[in-house]
Symmetry: C2
Subunit: 628 residues, 2 copies
C-alpha cells in the first residue's frame, strides 16, 4: 500500500502512514495527542485541526459539525479527514495537552510522611539459617519456612517454581545467609525469591493511580517508610478516546483491548524509567506494584475485555483480580514482583474509590463520612465503620472542560479562579500563564460570580437587557467574555455561553442529586455528614463557598469539607505499605452497597430539582445568599 | 572446530560431532543408548564398545578397567575414548537396551477398572447461567462462582488471568452456557478455563510414573472412569548416567540440571504423542497430569537442582512441589493444564513410594502392612492407619543386573527363571527369546537353586572339589555356566561368578536388614505384617519361596505376600481420579517417619548378620530348608 506523510504542527512531528487512515489515526500512530471525546466516531466535534497544506477526503461530517465558515477557513475534524496527499496539519493550542502542572502539585502533596502500622505487602527478610546436620536434615524449603515461622508465626507457605529451582545452590553458595522475599496473600505467604546474603534493605514499591486522564506513580522505599519520588503523565489511551465510554467502544468495536493494555503499560513503564533514572535506582529493586483505577482502567490494565461495563445492565468481568507477576502484563520491574490491582465495587465504582475509602479511613470512623470524587463520573461513597453505600452519577465532561466552548483541563493557562467586580473580571490561571481556556473550578467560580453580579439568574440564563460590554451573542446564543483576545494566549476571546452554563448546571445537578439520594437512602440528612472528603485534582482548586453556592456540594459547615487530593494513589500506597490494608480493601469492595442510579426511581426527580442555582428548594441551602 | 563422524553399529546411526568429544558423548548426542552406571566418570566399566575402524585417544583408563587382552581385541570404554579420526563403533548386544517387554506387561495389568470414590483433581462442569438483569448485575466471575457453589458448596475460587481476559466474550457468545474447568487445590478451587458450550465430557488425564529406568504414562478418560491406554519407554536420562547417583553427579558437575529436565520432558512428550495418535485424541483435551517419581526424578522433572540429595546429610530441596502449568516445564498437553508432582518424604523415599502407600491403602488399614519396592535402592514402608515408618536401603544395582558379569535388565532375552536339576539348567527368558543375560529374578532363582543343588554353600561360596562340568574359573574366580555359548544370543557363555553371588547377597542383605530394622524400630516382629506388598516390575517375576529362601523377604505366610506391580503409577492415577487422594498424599508425606539407615546404629549389625543364605540366624526363617 502506498504511504503518505502527515506533518503535525506546532510540534513538527512527521508521521508516515498507509493511505486510507484518518488524520486522527495518524496522530495516534505518532503519539500525537488530539482531544477527542467520542473515540473517533465523528460525533463530538472536539478533534478540530487546521489543514495547512495538502488534500483530504471526507469533509461532509466536518461541514455538518463545524459549519461552512470554519471548514472554509481550513478547519476539519481529524477523525473524519483522510489525507489523499502528504499533508501539514496544525493542532490548535487548546486541543493540545501539556504535561500537567496539576501533577506537579500532586507530587508535592504526595511527599508526606508515611507511618505504616503494619508490614508491607511484599517484605524482604534476612535469614541466618542453621546449616543441615545429620540430625537436622529437613528439606531446604522446610528449613526456610521453619525460620520464617519463628518471626512470623505459623503460616502456610508456597514457593514459586523459579525460586525453588535455584534454591539449593543459593542457600549453599551464600553459606545459609539469605534474603527471602515474601508476598503476603492473606493467611498464606508466597515466597517469591531467595537471594544471596542480606538485600532486605533493597525493597522498593510502586503505587500507581491509573486515571482515565492521568497516570501517577509514586516510588516508595519500604524498609525506610519513605516516599522517594513521584511522577505523572497523561494516560496515552486518551488518543483512542477521551473518556471511559469511548475507550470501551474502541476496545470492543475493533477488538483492541490489547492495544489499550499495551498503551497504559507503556505509560507506566515510562514513569518507572523516569523515576529510576532520576533516583539512580534499578527497576529490579522494585518488588511490588499496587495499582488503583476505575473499573474500566483496572480491566484494561490487566487486558480484560471491558465491553459489558457499558452495556445495560452494566456488568464488569470481575470485582477483584488475580495477583499476577507484573512482568506478565509487561511492566518492567523485578520479573518476580507481583502486580496487585485494587478491587472494584461495580461497573462505575472502581478500585480508585475503594482506595479512597481506605485512604480517608471512612470505614474506621464511628461518625458518617462522605467521599466525593468528581470527574466525568461523580463517584460518591457514604458510610462509617458499620456500613457503606456508594453510587456513580454521570456528570458529563463539563468539570474537566469538556463540551464547554473554551473549556480545558486544569493545565497550564487554564483559568482556575474568577472574580467579577464592577464589570471587571479578575482571574488567575494554572502556572500563572497567559490564559488559554477555563477549567472546571474556574467555571464554577465564574458561574457563581455571574449570578452574584446579577448577569445571569438562578436559572442559569443571562438577564436580558443588560448593557455590559462583555455580553454578546454567537449564533444567537448569549455569551459573556471573560478574557479579550488580546489578553489570551491563543489570540481568541475566552467566553462562557449560556449553553456552557446549562452544561455545568446539569453536571452539578447530577452530582448533588446523587449525594442527596445516598443520604436519604440510608435515612439521614446532610447534617449527619461529619466529614465531606473531596477527592481528585479538581478538589484542590475548589472554593467550598462557591461549590456550595452553585449547589454542587451540600450546604454543611465549611470546616467539615476536606480536600484530600489523589486518594486513589494514597489508598494504593497504603496497600503497599500495610498488607492488611489490601485484605481490608477486598472486604470493603464486597461490603459496599452500590445504588444503581439509572434504575433508582427517586434520582430523576432529585436531578430535575437540582437544575437551579443552587437548587429549586432553597431551604436546602440556608447559608447561600448571593446578594447579602 | 573441526568435525568428525562416529558411526554406531549395529543400528547404523551416524553422528557428526566436534573433535574432543568422547564416544559416549557422541552417543548421547545421537540418542544412542550405551549402558553406563557412573555417568561417564570412567569408573564403572559398563560402557564397553568395540572399535571397528578409526583412531581414538585416551585408552589408559580402558586398559586399567578392561585389561590388556580386551583392549588389544579392540574393546574400549566409550566414555574415555576420544576419536581423533572418523570412527566406526560397535555396541555389544548386551549393552544395548530394547523397549522393554516388562512395560507391555505393566500395560496389560494397568488396564484394570477404576472406581473413583471422589471427584477428579481437575473437573469440567457444564453451567447454564442466568443472563444478567438490572436486578442481578453481578460481575461475570461472581455469576459463575455463585452457580458453582450451588453444586460444590461454599468455596473460595480463584481465576487465572488468561481465563479472565476472555471471559466476558465467551459467556456472551455462548449464550451463558459454558463449561468451567476447575482445579481442586484443597479448600480453594482454581478456575483454569471457561469454554463455550458443553465440553465437560472432554476431560482426559495423564498419570505418569517417572522411574529412573523407565517412564510409563497412562491416559485416562476421567468422566467415564476409563483407562484409555498406557505406554512406556526407557528414561532417556540413562544416557547421562544409569542410576540416581550418576544422574545427580551429571546434573551438578556440569550444571546440567536443565539438560536432564528437557530429556525427561521429551520422553513424556513422546509418550503423549504416541498415546494421542493411537487413540485419535488431541493433546489439548488432556487437562491434568500427575507424576510420581523418586525424589531425584521429581526434582529433575521440575528443573530443581538435585545436588544436595547425594551429599551428607542428604537434603532434598523440597518435599512437596508447587502445582505449575504443565506447559511451564515444556509438557505438551492443554496449555492451561496443571502438572501435579507427588510429594516426597526424604532424599531417598520419594513420591513413588507415597503413591505406593496410597495405591495399597496401607494408610487406611487397621492391620500393619509393609510395602517393599526393590531396585537400586530398596524402599520400605511399614505402618497402618495410625502410623507409618519408612527407610531406604542402598541395595546396589545387582537386582537390576548391574555389576553382575552377565547381568541385564528384565528385557527381552533376560533369564528370569532358573531351575537346576540333575546337573541340567532349565531356564526361561523374557519374551522366550534366546538368552542374552540374567536379570534380578533369574539371579535370585539361580542362587537359590545353586544352594539347593549344594553347588554353593549357605555362605555363597562354591563348594570346592565338585566335578560339575559347568564349574570353572575366570581369573581365579570360580564361576558356574548357566548357558553355554552355542545356546546364547551373543555367542558367549552366560555365567554366575562367586563375585556375582557376593554382590547379590550384599544387596538382599541390605534390604532384609532394613525391613528388620523398621519392624524392630516400632517394637514389632514379622508375624505382625498382615500384608507384604512387593512393588515394581521386579516383583512380578519374583518367586516368593525363593526370595524368602535366599533371605531377601522375611519368612511370613506366603499368602500375605502380594505382588502389586507399578504402585507409583497406580498412586498417581488415584490422585488424578480422586482429588482427596492428592491432599492425603501431602499429609502422608509429612506423616511418614523416615529412618536414615546410614546413621541408624542397629542397621550395620543387622546387615552383617544378613550376609548369609538366608541369614545367620536360621530361626528367623523357620520355613526355609534347602534340603528337606
Amino acid at each position: 500500500m502506498s504511504k503518505l506523510t502527515v506533518l503535525f504542527l506546532p510540534m513538527g512531528l512527521s508521521v508516515e502512514v498507509e493511505k486510507g487512515l484518518s488524520i486522527l489515526e495518524a496522530a495516534q500512530k505518532g503519539g500525537v495527542y488530539i482531544t477527542n471525546l467520542c473515540g473517533g466516531e465523528g460525533v463530538c466535534g472536539e478533534c478540530k485541526v487546521f489543514l495547512k497544506a495538502g488534500q483530504v477526503e471526507g469533509i461532509d461530517r466536518s461541514l455538518e459539525l463545524l459549519g461552512d465558515k470554519e471548514v472554509s477557513k481550513g478547519y476539519l475534524l481529524a477523525c473524519q479527514s483522510i489525507p489523499t496527499t502528504d499533508v501539514v496539519v496544525e493542532i490548535p493550542l487548546e486541543a493540545t495537552v501539556e504535561a500537567a502542572q496539576i501533577m506537579k502539585d500532586q507530587a508535592e502533596e504526595a511527599r508526606e510522611a508515611i507511618t505504616p502500622t503494619d508490614k508491607p505487602i511484599v517484605e524482604k527478610i534476612f535469614l541466618k539459617l542453621p546449616p543441615p546436620t545429620p540430625e537436622d536434615n529437613i528439606a531446604d524449603t522446610e528449613r526456610i519456612t521453619r525460620e520464617l515461622r519463628k518471626t512470623l508465626g505459623w503460616r502456610g507457605y508456597k514457593m514459586d517454581l523459579p525460586c525453588l529451582q535455584r534454591l539449593p545452590q543459593i542457600v549453599r553458595d551464600s553459606n545459609w545467609q539469605v534474603t527471602c522475599t515474601l508476598l503476603r496473600e492473606f493467611e498464606e505467604f508466597r515466597i517469591l525469591c531467595i537471594e544471596h546474603n542480606d538485600t532486605s534493605k533493597n525493597n522498593l514499591g510502586l503505587a500507581v493511580d491509573v486515571g482515565t486522564t492521568t497516570v501517577v506513580a509514586q516510588l516508595l522505599d519500604l524498609p525506610n517508610n519513605k516516599v522517594i519520588d513521584v511522577e505523572g503523565k497523561l494516560n496515552s489511551q486518551a488518543s483512542y478516546g477521551e473518556d471511559v465510554i469511548s475507550r470501551i467502544i474502541f476496545a470492543c468495536s475493533k477488538g483492541s483491548t490489547e492495544i489499550l493494555q499495551k498503551t497504559i503499560v507503556k505509560d507506566i513503564n515510562e514513569l518507572i524509567e523516569i523515576l529510576c533514572e532520576r533516583n539512580h535506582i534499578k527497576p529490579e529493586d522494585i518488588w511490588s506494584i499496587v495499582a488503583a483505577g476505575n473499573t474500566t482502567m483496572s480491566h484494561l490494565l490487566l487486558g480484560i475485555y471491558p465491553c459489558a461495563i457499558r452495556l445495560d445492565p452494566y456488568v464488569p468481568t470481575a470485582y477483584s483480580f488475580p495477583i499476577v507477576k507484573a512482568k506478565e502484563v509487561g511492566i518492567n520491574i523485578n520479573p518476580l514482583a507481583p502486580l496487585i490491582v485494587m478491587p472494584c465495587v461495580a461497573s462505575y465504582v472502581g478500585g480508585d474509590i475503594v482506595a479512597g475509602v481506605l485512604a480517608c479511613g471512612i470505614h474506621e470512623k464511628e461518625g458518617v463520612s462522605a467521599l466525593i470524587d468528581i470527574g466525568t463520573n461523580g463517584e460518591i461513597v457514604l458510610g462509617n465503620r458499620d456500613w457503606l453505600v456508594c453510587c456513580s452519577a454521570s456528570a458529563g465532561p463539563a468539570f474537566e472542560g469538556g463540551g464547554i466552548t473554551c473549556g480545558m483541563r486544569a493545565t497550564k493557562g487554564a483559568i482556575e479562579k474568577v472574580r467579577i467586580q464592577n464589570g471587571n473580571v479578575i482571574y488567575s490561571t494554572v502556572g500563572n500563564a497567559r490564559p488559554r481556556g477555563i477549567c472546571g473550578s474556574g467555571l464554577i467560580d465564574a458561574i457563581y460570580e455571574l449570578v452574584r453580579a446579577r448577569i445571569i439568574g438562578q436559572d442559569g440564563k443571562f438577564e436580558r437587557g443588560l448593557s455590559d460590554p462583555r455580553l454578546g451573542y454567537d449564533s444567537d446564543i448569549p455569551q459573556y467574555t471573560l478574557v479579550y483576545p488580546e489578553e489570551s494566549e491563543t489570540g481568541k476571546p475566552i467566553v462562557i455561553t449560556e449553553t456552557d452554563i446549562d452544561s455545568l448546571i446539569k453536571s452539578k445537578g447530577a452530582v448533588f442529586a446523587a449525594i442527596k439520594c445516598l443520604v436519604e437512602y440510608v435515612g439521614l440528612s446532610f447534617e449527619f455528614i461529619e466529614n465531606l472528603y473531596v477527592a481528585g485534582g479538581f478538589g484542590n482548586y475548589l472554593d467550598a463557598n462557591k461549590a456550595i453556592g452553585i449547589g454542587l456540594l451540600p450546604d454543611i459547615a465549611r470546616e467539615r469539607i476536606k480536600y484530600v487530593g489523589n486518594t486513589s494513589l494514597k489508598g494504593a500506597r497504603l496497600c503497599l505499605t500495610n498488607h492488611s490494608a489490601f485484605e481490608r480493601s477486598l472486604n470493603l469492595s464486597r461490603a459496599m452497597t452500590n445504588i444503581e442510579l439509572s434504575t433508582y426511581q427517586p434520582f430523576m426527580n432529585e436531578y430535575i430539582a437540582s437544575l437551579f442555582l443552587p437548587h429549586t428548594e432553597m431551604k436546602l441551602f440556608p447559608s447561600v445568599s448571593y446578594w447579602s
